[in-house]
């Protein structure tokens, strides 16, 4: 189920809230778990079994990964348990997500003619396998206590706000909240605000940008211009940010309604002045996960420059590959790995001395090109698009179609730019400093306005009048 759907907004959520707040404390986690399973099963009823299997494995391996239960000589058992958890999670992830890619690649190279498997990717598997994995590893490292109640662990893994699109909530973040959280009006309303902003980001902004990208990227070269090629990929740049961060906002907001506090996942990535900074601000829960569970275990920067370069490239290849079962995602990761290395060892210092505007342009230029790598999983289309952007296909710089689109989207683009920066927050704090009441009014009014507008957009996706007659 998607947050931005009518079923979620007007059936699932009200029902879940009503029952959750009606039952006594002891049953609250159970209610969340049941609703989460329904939420998950909505799209793929059978894959709920895979998730339940993963939860059971995490529960058992978690219990046995606790070193304190063994005498010194038997500690290897804890290690073994952790390894089982790693093999299980990565095995499942690889099997469901990448098997068909490997088959296809092997066929393309060797012409083996292996038949692709009839498997669909269980939704959210990339997120929840990373969560269960980090849980068991953290238990092994002694950073968290093993959860002795499988209901609580299942609630953590399946918790619907963060189940299918992140953020990757670590067990350590909500270990205490699972049993000790306290819901309140304050927290609930703060959750409502966050959810509403996220919903508006997704259905009003991301979809508008997405529609422009879709339209332009489907156009043949004879209709395009250089500027239109850039316009398309810039639209994609906005789409992916508002889509993804909107989803994280909704997750964080929903968490708050039920008394959970997740960590932030995005911190205005498009105001970055370098690629290094961009990755501190973009999908934070993923990059810190790779840092803590891959980069540092590999030795990080403590084993010499050569090893550090290797580690960085491993981390970024995997980060890229995590995003999808297609080689362009790995290419996208490698692209950022190289840029990060170049910043670290070659031009990082010089960049910092450059005027700020140059730093911003530099960072966004490479981010936008990165999104081109990300957006096109077909190499021919990618190359064609890049050639269009750099004027290598002999396209006109600009044409009527481009002007038309630019006129139509001008105001939307201004809003997209403003909403990607802390400008609103800054304006809010200015108003607040002047008058607390004015701020409260603006903020309070923004919620119904955005909710109703989002509802309008949700309805409009199916609004389709027939001009000529009914048959």
């Amino acid at each position: 189920m998607l947050f931005s759907s009518n079923v979620f907004l007007y059936m699932f959520l009200p029902l879940c809230i009503a029952i959750y707040f009606a039952v006594p404390r002891k049953l609250k986690n159970f209610v969340l778990l049941v609703f989460s399973l329904v939420f998950y099963a909505w799209g793929e009823p059978k894959y709920v079994l895979i998730m339940l299997a993963s939860i059971t494995v995490a529960f058992i391996t978690g219990l046995f990964a606790d070193k304190s239960r063994y005498k010194e000589k038997a500690v290897f058992k804890a290690r073994l348990s952790m390894i089982i958890a790693i093999v299980w999670n990565l095995g499942f992830l690889f099997f469901f997500k990448y098997t068909n890619l490997f088959i296809k690649t092997a066929n393309d190279i060797g012409g083996f003619g292996i038949k692709a498997l009839d498997i669909a990717l269980p939704i959210g598997i990339s997120f929840y396998s990373f969560q269960t994995l980090s849980y068991v590893i953290d238990v092994y490292k002694g950073e968290v206590k093993a959860q002795r109640n499988i209901l609580n662990l299942a609630t953590y893994v399946a918790l619907f706000p963060q189940l299918i699109a992140g953020p990757i909530v670590r067990y350590q973040t909500i270990e205490e909240q699972l049993t000790e959280r306290k819901e309140s009006f304050e927290l609930f309303s703060s959750g409502v605000k966050r959810f509403t902003y996220g919903l508006a980001k997704k259905v009003i902004l991301a979809n508008a940008a997405g529609a422009l990208f879709e339209e332009l990227s489907a156009m043949s070269n004879d209709k395009l211009s250089v500027l239109a090629a850039w316009l398309g990929i810039v639209a994609y740049t906005f789409q992916i940010f508002f889509d993804f961060s909107g989803y994280s906002d909704m997750a964080i907001g929903l968490g708050k309604m039920f008394g959970f506090e997740f960590l932030e996942n995005f911190d205005y990535p498009y105001i970055s002045k370098s690629i290094t900074e961009f990755w501190r601000r973009w999908h934070i829960s993923l990059s810190t996960w790779f840092r803590d569970y891959v980069y540092i275990p590999l030795g990080g920067n403590r084993r010499g420059k050569g090893r550090q370069i290797f580690n960085i490239m491993v981390v970024w290849s995997l980060t890229g590959f995590w995003h999808g079962a297609s080689w362009n995602f790995m290419g996208w990761g490698v692209y950022f790995g190289i840029l990060l290395l170049l910043e670290k060892f070659i031009w990082g210092k010089a960049l910092q001395k450059a005027p700020k505007a140059v730093q911003h342009i530099y960072a966004m230029f490479f981010v936008v090109i990165g999104w081109a790598l990300f957006a096109f999983d077909d190499t021919d289309r990618l190359i064609n698009n890049l050639k269009n952007m750099f004027g290598l296909n002999g396209l006109p710089i600009i044409n009527d179609m481009t002007v038309s689109k630019m006129l139509g989207f001008a105001v939307t683009f201004v809003i997209l730019v403003i909403a990607s920066t802390p400008l609103c927050r800054w304006a809010g704090s200015k108003i607040k400093a002047k008058s607390e009441t004015a701020f409260d009014i603006v903020q309070t009014v923004s919620i119904p306005v955005l909710l109703i507008l989002s509802a309008a957009y949700l309805v409009s996706s199916s609004y389709n009048p027939f001009l000529y007659f009914r048959f």
């Binding site: 189920m1 759907s5 009518n6 079923v7 907004l9 007007y10 059936m11 959520l13 009200p14 809230i17 009503a18 799209g43 793929e44 009823p45 059978k46 009006f185 304050e186 609930f188 309303s189 703060s190 409502v192 605000k193 509403t196 009527d400 179609m401 002007v403 038309s404 689109k405 630019m406 006129l407 139509g408 989207f409 001008a410 105001v411 939307t412 809003i415 409260d440 903020q443 309070t444 919620i447 119904p448 909710l451 109703i452 507008l453 509802a455 309008a456 957009y457 949700l458 309805v459 409009s460 996706s461 199916s462 609004y463 389709n464 009048p465 027939f466 001009l467 000529y468 007659f469 009914r470």
Partner: protein, 381 residues
């Protein structure tokens, strides 16, 4: 305080839409969208397992959403506020005109030309083909900057050049342009994709000129009364891009007080039974007021009148012709009207009909947009 207001509003919003949607009676048909709406989906174990139920439930909730039409209009107005000039195939043009996007579908146009040429080989009476440009071409000065329409006059030329020499082709572009732009008459509805009574009158004059006849006496003497049928009207383009800012059109039709008419439907089951003369006044109470002209579109009917000429004509047409036929009815005593969208596999083909009914002249009347998008010409034989 603030926390409470926000919380209460949010809960009222999700519970409100949820509960009202549940208890409100489901609509079967949307006048606004001119389509049937999704109804409560059937629950079975199988349909849940394959996800069909989940998908239908989402469509159902969306279709039966309380305030659905109002919410859609809100979205359109928000986008107009964002200075978007295009919505769902419609441009927001000057003076409150909603104008349809036009993209030439060359292959389809060429096919349609072929079907017509094949048809006229079997016809040995004169054939006049009138292709009417729509507001997109006639009022293109009113379109906002940056529209990406194809040129309807290019399509018209394609048709003109492609049609068999036996066919007398006319395109009343200059006439409409002159009336609509020079004389500042309203010739197209602002909220509908049709021409109005003024535009249709221009079409009538052009047609009469082409077949070498004088317009009727009542027309020349200004004897039409437009007052009896004159209603507020929000047309099909308004449905596509509804907006609180949109001013209503007036739907009008010519009434000749000296005229005597009888419309005879070839198929009894098509007869709406509500026609008074040429008009179905019950349709004036519905959203689609344009359907008051003859009650809509039907496979075949015959108009008998006290018109001036005895010559028996056949009009093969789309809905643009509906607004011209009231004028034509005062020029010709007997007019057969055939709509190929509905005239499928009938007892006789159109060419057989021409012979058996002793028809001495064929008029084909279509607008460019229709000719560019309809594929029922293949039934023409």
């Amino acid at each position: 305080m603030k926390a409470r207001i926000i919380t209460v509003f949010f809960l009222a919003f999700i519970f409100g839409f949820g509960i009202v949607g549940l208890i409100m009676k489901d609509r079967e048909f949307s006048d606004m969208e001119n389509r049937t709406l999704a109804q409560s989906p059937e629950v079975t174990g199988e349909k849940i397992m394959n996800g069909e139920f989940q998908g239908s439930l989402e469509t159902y909730l969306s279709d039966q959403m309380p305030l659905r039409d109002g919410l859609y209009a809100l979205k359109v107005d928000y986008e107009r506020l964002m200075l978007k000039t295009y919505q769902n195939g419609v441009y927001f043009a000057d003076d409150g005109y909603l104008i349809q996007e036009y993209k030439e579908n060359t292959g389809l146009v060429e096919n349609n030309i072929r079907f017509i040429n094949g048809f006229v080989q079997k016809v040995d009476v004169p054939v006049t083909f009138m292709l009417v440009p729509t507001a997109t071409a006639v009022l293109n000065d009113k379109l906002p900057a940056g529209c990406l329409n194809d040129d309807q006059m290019k399509t018209a030329k394609l048709v003109k050049d492609g049609l068999d020499e036996k066919i007398d082709f006319i395109c009343p572009y200059e006439e409409l342009k002159n009336a609509g732009v020079e004389q500042q008459l309203q010739v197209f509805y602002k909220t509908d994709h049709h021409w109005n009574a003024n535009g249709a009158a221009e079409g009538y004059l052009a047609l009469m000129r082409a077949i070498g006849k004088q317009p009727s006496e009542v027309y020349l003497s200004g004897g039409y009364d437009y007052e009896p049928i004159n209603r507020e009207f929000y047309g099909t383009l308004y449905s596509k891009a509804p907006s609180a800012l949109q001013k209503a059109d007036r739907f009008t039709a010519p009434v000749n007080h000296g005229g005597e008419y009888k419309v005879e439907f070839a198929k009894e089951q098509e007869d709406p039974g509500t026609l008074a003369g040429l008009y179905d006044l019950t349709k004036l109470e519905t959203k689609d007021k344009y359907a008051a002209l003859f009650g809509g579109n039907f496979s075949h009917y015959t108009i008998h009148s006290n018109g001036e000429n005895d010559e028996r004509i056949l009009v093969i047409k789309d809905s643009y012709a509906n607004a011209v036929l009231p004028y034509l009815a005062d020029s010709f005593k007997t007019i057969d009207v055939v709509d190929m969208r509905y005239y499928h596999m009938e007892q006789q083909t159109v060419s057989e009909l021409i012979k058996s009914e002793g028809i001495s002249r064929v008029i084909m009347l279509y607008n460019v947009d229709f000719f560019n998008s309809d594929n029922n010409f293949l039934w023409l034989d």
